[in-house]
């Protein structure tokens, strides 16, 4: 039963019928992209009409390194001047 090795892992993104964007729903194994879409339909949408599905081979996703979280995501901390809310509206300026 080493068949598993032949079926790559795919990540599934679903936009539901009233959704605005695709959301990561989970993953599954499938022999190829076409079958992955069909399997995703069975597993993650229950065939509600009007949904959109994306499947991506897991190996094609590059993720940020959790160990580098500090350097990666903390740079905005304490830099309020990066945000518009930091600046006060000058008197007399309308429609801002």
């Amino acid at each position: 039963m080493s068949q598993q090795n032949n079926w790559p892992l795919w990540e599934v993104f679903v936009r539901s019928s009233r959704g605005l964007s695709h959301v990561h729903a989970g993953s599954l194994h499938a022999p190829d992209a076409q079958m992955a879409v069909r399997n995703a339909r069975d597993l993650y949408t229950r065939r509600n009409e009007g949904v959109s599905l994306w499947v991506v081979k897991s190996e094609d996703i590059i993720s940020s390194d959790p160990d580098e979280k500090d350097a990666f995501f903390e740079s905005p901390q304490g830099k309020d001047y990066r945000h518009a809310t930091y600046y006060k509206a000058s008197e007399g300026v309308k429609h801002l």
């Binding site: 068949q3 079926w7 539901s16 019928s17 009233r18 959704g19 605005l20 959301v23 729903a25 599954l28 194994h29 499938a30 022999p31 190829d32 076409q34 079958m35 069909r38 399997n39 069975d42 597993l43 993650y44 949408t45 229950r46 065939r47 509600n48 009409e49």
Partner: protein, 286 residues
């Protein structure tokens, strides 16, 4: 809170509730609707609906045997899904047919004998290996897709409504079978050999699907003449097999008469298992 208000409230939650488990039947006709609001069919229409329901019921029974036994987890779910769809079609057809004889879907499913069943021989054939099940699905779902497509224009409103819902689902079953036929046909040497074997053992039951009966002729405008579907079916199957590196086998045709209640040796075993509980406890409700 009535149903519409509840729906509106659920809608207002938007995606937060759009879970994989929430059922949204839409405006599709359900067996329950047919049972309470369906117009009583004539004897002939009921007998015709029964043939369609029996095909679906026996196929659903066969497919559900795959649960937990499929080659992959995803495929287990796909076959289970298809079995559920087909069982839904059976429920609608049998509920409708039963109105003519004051019988419920359960009466018809559990309290008829083998020679009362009017299903085709193809649907009662054993699952065999995965390739056999896929070829059986290919043969049947391409046929059902053509049949239900035409029946959406039936002069019988209930049949048309049942088929309008069923045709979308069968379209997917057809796609699923085609995808697997191509992959297994063009897969390894072994998978191709198994697909050739599947075609050989199932091909004898093809002609029966297209036999016109007196019943079909009597129901002009209501039923579809099976023979009228043959050309389109051949064309589609030929195209799929060509894409899959497979050929139509040269096996002869079985003397099948499922519509007349004469079945292969397989149906009795299916029914024995399917009906045992209902017959052991007559009148029980579940």
């Amino acid at each position: 809170m009535n149903h519409d208000e509840l729906d509106a409230e659920l809608d207002s939650f938007g995606d937060a509730l759009a879970s994989a488990t929430r059922v949204t039947p839409g405006n599709a006709l359900r067996p329950e609707d047919i049972a309470v609001g369906g117009a009583k069919p004539s004897e002939d229409v009921a007998r015709y609906a029964l043939t369609l329901g029996d095909d679906a019921l026996i196929l659903a029974q066969r497919l559900s045997h795959w649960i937990s036994r499929a080659p992959e987890l995803e495929e287990d779910i796909a076959l289970g899904n298809i079995a559920l769809d087909v069982l839904g079609h059976a429920r609608s057809f049998l509920t409708y047919a039963g109105l003519a004889w004051d019988k419920t879907e359960d009466d018809l499913a559990y309290w008829r004998e083998e020679d009362d069943f009017t299903s085709l021989w193809i649907v009662e054939q054993p699952n065999g290996h995965f390739g056999v099940t896929i070829i059986r699905q290919l043969i049947v779902s391409v046929f059902q897709h053509l049949l239900y497509s035409k029946l959406t224009e039936s002069a019988d409103e209930t049949l048309a409504a049942i088929c309008a819902k069923a045709v979308k689902e069968v379209d997917y079953h057809r796609d699923h079978a085609i995808q697997w036929t191509i992959r297994l046909g063009l897969g390894t040497e072994e998978s191709a050999a198994k697909m050739r074997h599947a075609l050989e053992i199932l091909w004898p039951y093809v002609d029966e699907m297209f036999q016109d009966l007196e019943l079909h002729r009597k129901l002009d405008g209501i039923a579809v003449l099976p023979s009228s579907l043959r050309e389109a079916w051949d064309k589609e199957i030929n195209a799929v097999l060509a894409d899959s590196g497979l050929e139509i086998p040269k096996t002869g045709q079985a003397m099948a008469n499922g519509r007349g209640g004469e079945h292969s040796e397989h149906l009795g075993f299916i029914l024995a298992e399917m009906q045992v509980l209902a017959r052991k406890h007559p009148g029980a409700s579940w």
